[in-house]
Symmetry: C2
Subunit: 342 residues, 2 copies
């Protein structure tokens, strides 16, 4: 007997799966989709694979994030990792681990948005897993696969002195959006504000528009995924996606490559000035250390591909500097918390 707001405990696994499978795009990449023991995917000689999870209460709050927001964010953070290897995302597998008292509607909305986002990104939803969790727990996990198209991956370790440091996508918007939410902003401010947030060039929108874009980017980020593959084709020497902030993720390229990333504040000024209208004095910190942005940071040994803008240069040394001053690799640490305040 289905009530007005049924929970997962009230429907069978088969019924739930029959409801959500139609949301999941198939395509040429998937030979066998959800429903057998495992999926079968058409792959090239090298497959990129990554996995990432989101947990209610740690990675999102139900007061701010809808099921669709969570699906979009989970998809973006995984696909950005694939793109940051220089690969084209091809397929995802998804896990939902949920308290049986979770509304069926949450699971259905999550699946619908995941399917919609996957369709937009050109990836198939190849399979997944449903598991029950203790009271109050809701967790989603995604594995994303990608294809390098016969080219070598772009690692974190290939930056060399003289390379140009460049970004494709926005800086600091997710962190600014979080600050706005913490200050009581209505999440409805994010609606209807979509459009140019994939572009990421500062200075092309009013203050109200940018507030909305920051909220949007925090709640349901999208990033220019195709830029990863394109950067690889055009000779990127190293690449990473900004999960934990420009300084922390930049320091990862620096450490892996045995170099220093020398950022110039002049090249970050427009990003910071923009965000100052929205979050005041915290704009610098948002741009330098704001996490969950998922824009692509890369180094190039020649001309930048279209859509990328320079932030600095690679030099001999180690760590990340700003106008020559060494910067601590502050940003997010998953268990220890925010190390910049520790």
């Amino acid at each position: 007997m289905v009530t007005a707001a049924p929970t997962l405990a009230e429907v069978s696994e088969a019924t739930l799966l029959a409801t959500i499978f139609p949301f999941f795009p198939g395509g040429a990449a998937v030979a066998v989709g959800p429903g057998d023991d495992a999926a079968v995917l058409a792959t090239g000689r090298a497959t990129v694979a990554t996995t990432d999870s989101m947990v209610r209460g740690r990675d999102w709050l139900d007061t701010w994030s809808s099921a669709g927001d969570v699906a979009t964010k989970l998809l973006t953070q995984n696909l950005a990792d694939v793109a940051a290897m220089g690969a084209t995302p091809t397929a995802v597998l998804v896990s939902l681990v949920a308290d049986p008292q979770t509304p069926v509607a949450w699971a259905v909305d999550f699946a619908r948005a995941l399917g919609s986002g996957a369709t937009k990104a050109g990836v198939v939803v190849a399979g997944g897993d449903l598991s029950s969790a203790p009271a109050g727990v809701l967790m989603v996990s995604l594995t994303a696969l990608g294809d390098l198209g016969g080219q070598p991956p772009v690692l974190r370790s290939g930056a060399r002195p003289g390379d140009v440091v460049a970004i494709c996508g926005t800086l600091g918007r997710s962190a600014a959006g979080l600050l706005l939410l913490e200050a009581g902003a209505d999440r409805a401010g994010a609606s209807g504000a979509s459009g140019d947030n994939g572009e990421g060039t500062p200075g092309q929108h009013g203050q109200q528009g940018l507030r909305g874009l920051c909220l949007e980017h925090h709640l349901r980020p999208t990033v220019p995924l195709a830029a990863g593959r394109e950067a690889a084709t055009q000779g990127a020497t190293s690449m990473i996606d900004l999960s934990d902030g420009l300084l922390r993720d930049g320091s990862r390229i620096a450490a892996a490559s045995g170099v220093s990333l020398a950022l110039e504040s002049g090249l970050l000024r427009a990003d910071i000035e923009d965000l100052r209208e929205v979050v005041g004095e915290q704009a610098d910190e948002c741009v330098l250390a704001g996490g969950e942005e998922h824009s692509l940071l890369a180094t190039f040994r020649g001309e930048l591909p279209s859509g990328w803008r320079q932030l600095g240069r690679v030099e001999a040394g180690h760590g990340v500097s700003l106008d020559g001053r060494p910067q601590a690799a502050r940003g997010w640490d998953h268990f220890g918390g925010d190390q910049s305040r520790g």
Copy 2:
């Protein structure tokens, strides 16, 4: 400052990763392992992919299962899904979602056992994810990939009347082990009892030995993974691994293939008689409906490969029958609970 029993909150993510990465086997299949944005794996033209999660309090209890047990079980249930497609498991990605108060030792023991099991199974641990969870929550998730070696996958849908229904591996041991634990058995009984549990032929061990094997199979199951690929090569027409019980998983082959699986009690008698010494009257239910066994159930149109034994025949019709009597597809449903008692 590291104390005698440090928690995840007390170590940095980098420190934890540096501790656990050395446990993870690399190999020819992994071009880029853990440490970059994503892993890069050597793949064939078709890649099998599956994912499965385990949650403390739902899928295991700390009183019964060590971190190493959980790792072994998680690995087996995922690799069995890959094997059930007729593929050779090649790589896994792992996620740990944990309350920061989780002891570091749990994570380290988990990673060590995962690495050890992966090495034995010939798969690489290609990457993973660490996320923090609310108080008390501990969850692990695995994605497994496999290679079909250029052959088509063995689906659930290929069984045809006249095929032989056969099993490779044990029946009912995991469920019997759970009953023993629920009745107060000491999990230490599982230690030192390993050896022939990959074989699964009934009647070749004493009662004490079988008790230990049942405990062992429930806590840290291993299954004959290579049998999946071999069955595919030798003409299996359909295949599934026993996650949710012989009747329920059998009914999945029946439904997907549009046939009936006609099991014969005479062919199950040795399994049941064996378990009767351990769990008495519940032996029938363990063999017919016991989940988490992960043995391979398949149908063949000719001679059985070595290691497989017949359980019945495929007939026209639907569902699963035992000596001609239709059986309800009882077994485990992830949110609704055990449907056999509902």
